[in-house]
């Protein structure tokens, strides 16, 4: 049963891409000044406006590092990042990061958190925008709750609402659902896709969960273990809503696993690729 796409992918390939990562390399200098840790090598990614891109890779491979560079929190050792054709030199409210650690302010209510990025609008407009996004992420009724009164999933919803309320062009999300349970994750993904389709943002979403990437992304960027290079960039040719039993889904997953030197049929391969380190980390 293959349903026709209910909505054409909002990837309008017109002119400058929303995000362009051009030949980015990253080394972390060692404390003693002896040897540098190479983390990223020759990363090239182009994200058209409105596209949903997932970056997958093993833990510790440099996904957060890459996101921090793209968002302007870290300076690459080499290469550059362009957003809408402009070189990135620091964070900017037009590109909001949702951090892996969670950054909802515990001293503010849900409403105040969501309105955090809304400093330059009238009070009435602020109220309206706050309520709009609280409703959108499904937190209606929790406007005056504090962080400690919310579950993990609800906290992530606040995080997303706060980012959206600032009306950024691009959203960078770093394993936002990583700490959530299986069912909550499913729900959050479905909601995120719905919100993305409503809001037409460009999203770069980091995850170590290959299934999550295939369920969400237009395209998946697969990173190798450290030092990370791009193993594969592949489109997910599945119409939305996605049928997770479709052969295309399974095939996509197999190809990504293969790119990482793993296979679900034979278990995990002994060789994790040329870059696996001594600890067997891959």
């Amino acid at each position: 049963m293959i349903e026709p796409p209910t909505q054409s992918l909002p990837t309008e390939r017109t002119g400058t891409p929303a995000v362009l990562v051009r030949d980015v390399w990253m080394d972390f200098p060692h404390k003693q000044g002896s040897q540098a840790t190479p983390v990223l090598e020759q990363i090239n990614v182009e994200i058209p406006r409105g596209e949903f891109v997932c970056v997958v890779g093993p833990s510790g491979c440099g996904k957060t590092t890459l996101l921090n560079i793209i968002a302007g929190f870290l300076k690459a050792s080499r290469g550059e990042v362009l957003v809408e054709g402009e070189s990135v030199h620091g964070p900017d409210p037009r590109r909001i990061v949702i951090f892996q650690e969670g950054s909802v302010f515990p001293w503010l209510t849900v409403s105040a958190n969501v309105g955090f990025g809304l400093n330059h609008v009238s009070a009435a407009e602020r109220e309206r925008v706050i309520q709009h996004y609280i409703d959108m992420v499904g937190l209606t009724g929790f406007e005056s709750a504090y962080l400690r009164q919310l579950s993990g999933g609800m906290r992530q919803r606040v995080e997303i609402a706060r980012a959206l309320a600032a009306n950024p062009e691009v959203l960078y999300m770093d394993e936002p659902f990583g700490a959530l349970d299986y069912f909550t994750r499913f729900k959050m993904r479905a909601d995120l896709v719905r919100i993305w389709q409503q809001e037409k943002k460009t999203i770069l979403f980091v995850t170590h969960d290959i299934d999550e990437a295939i369920q969400l992304a237009d395209r998946v960027v697969v990173l190798s273990s450290r030092p990370s290079t791009i193993r594969l960039i592949m489109s997910v040719p599945l119409p939305r809503p996605r049928d997770l039993n479709s052969p295309i889904y399974l095939e996509t997953r197999d190809r990504i696993l293969n790119a990482l030197g793993m296979s679900l049929r034979n278990g995990i391969n002994a060789s994790c690729g040329s870059h696996s380190d001594a600890s067997g980390n891959c």
């Binding site: 964070p91 503010l108 992420v137 499904g138 504090y146 579950s151 993904r189 479905a190 719905r194």
Partner: protein, 295 residues
């Protein structure tokens, strides 16, 4: 069909005007803690046990004085009559107010100077490096050691104890505020940076509220110490207040009933001040950092 597919379909059918695909999670967490009444048994225990201990202490005190046959050291009831006498003379209120007045001023001045300076020190490496050694040098000097100097500068007046309390608290408040700022989680700062806050907004909307819980805990402990200092200062530098009462009662006629009455007042008021500061820790804007401590 797996849950994810049905989830996405449900999400897609939703038009933006509707309340999203997610019903607000039906969790009663919001009200938990706020009105979860403690068990009646616990309340009773919390009153009965300490009262029992207090009564035993008073009986022991009374018995010990009777046994020793001391003419000077008062029994609990003598102290009570002492308090009544002080109240009748109007001294009780006068001295309590005098002491509280000095603590309030000295402590407030220390807060007004210490907190902004601590915020600055905590967030600016240069200021930190420049001032920290001097502050660390001043900090170990007991406020009592400043008494002669404060009398030299301010004479026998309210200003002397106010100055002593200010000195006793301003350095610790500065240092603990700076430490609180430095322990603010960096992810909050990065988020603030991302939203394009001005320097002032960063301070008022993120750094200050994020470090406030730790600052308040420092203040609570600090107020207790300020209360210790005022009593010591009043014994020497002024002629009113609870510290003065104690010294005066002893010097003018060995009235130990009034000495102990003064001590009782100091204890009770110190305790009340601490309870007051604990109430501050219950405010929603700082409660997040204290875990379930006060829930």
């Amino acid at each position: 069909m797996t849950p994810a597919v049905s989830g996405e379909q449900a999400a897609l059918k939703n038009d933006p005007g509707e309340r999203g695909g997610v019903s607000p999670p039906v969790v009663s967490i919001v009200h938990r803690g706020a009105d979860a009444a403690p068990l009646a048994g616990i309340t009773a225990r919390a009153i009965v046990l300490p009262s029992l201990v207090a009564v035993m202490f008073l009986l022991f005190w009374d018995g010990a004085v009777r046994l020793s046959g001391s003419q000077l050291f008062p029994k609990p009831l003598d102290v009570l009559w002492g308090l009544v006498e002080l109240a009748k003379k109007g001294l009780l209120v006068k001295y309590v107010v005098a002491s509280l007045f000095r603590v309030t001023w000295g402590f407030t001045l220390a807060v007004i100077v210490g907190i902004p300076f601590g915020l600055l020190m905590g967030s600016n490496k240069l200021v930190q490096e420049a001032f920290n050694p001097l502050i660390q040098g001043f900090r170990p000097i007991s406020p009592i050691a400043w008494i002669p100097v404060s009398i030299l500068w301010f004479g026998v007046s309210d200003a002397a104890p106010v100055f002593l309390i200010f000195l006793a608290r301003v350095f610790p408040i500065t240092v603990s505020t700076a430490a609180a700022v430095k322990s603010v989680q960096s992810v909050y700062l990065r988020a603030a940076d991302n939203f394009g806050l001005t320097k002032f907004q960063l301070f008022s909307q993120v750094i200050f509220p994020a470090s406030l819980p730790q600052i308040i805990t420092g203040l609570r402990i600090g107020l207790g110490i300020a209360w210790l200092v005022v009593v010591a200062a009043e014994m020497i530098a002024v002629n009113s207040g609870l510290g003065y009462l104690i010294i005066d009662a002893r010097n003018a006629g060995k009235r130990y009933d009034l000495v102990v009455a003064g001590m009782v007042l100091i204890g009770v008021i110190g305790w009340l001040l601490d309870l007051l500061m604990r109430q501050v820790e219950r405010f929603q804007t700082v409660k997040w950092a204290y875990g379930t401590l006060h829930d």
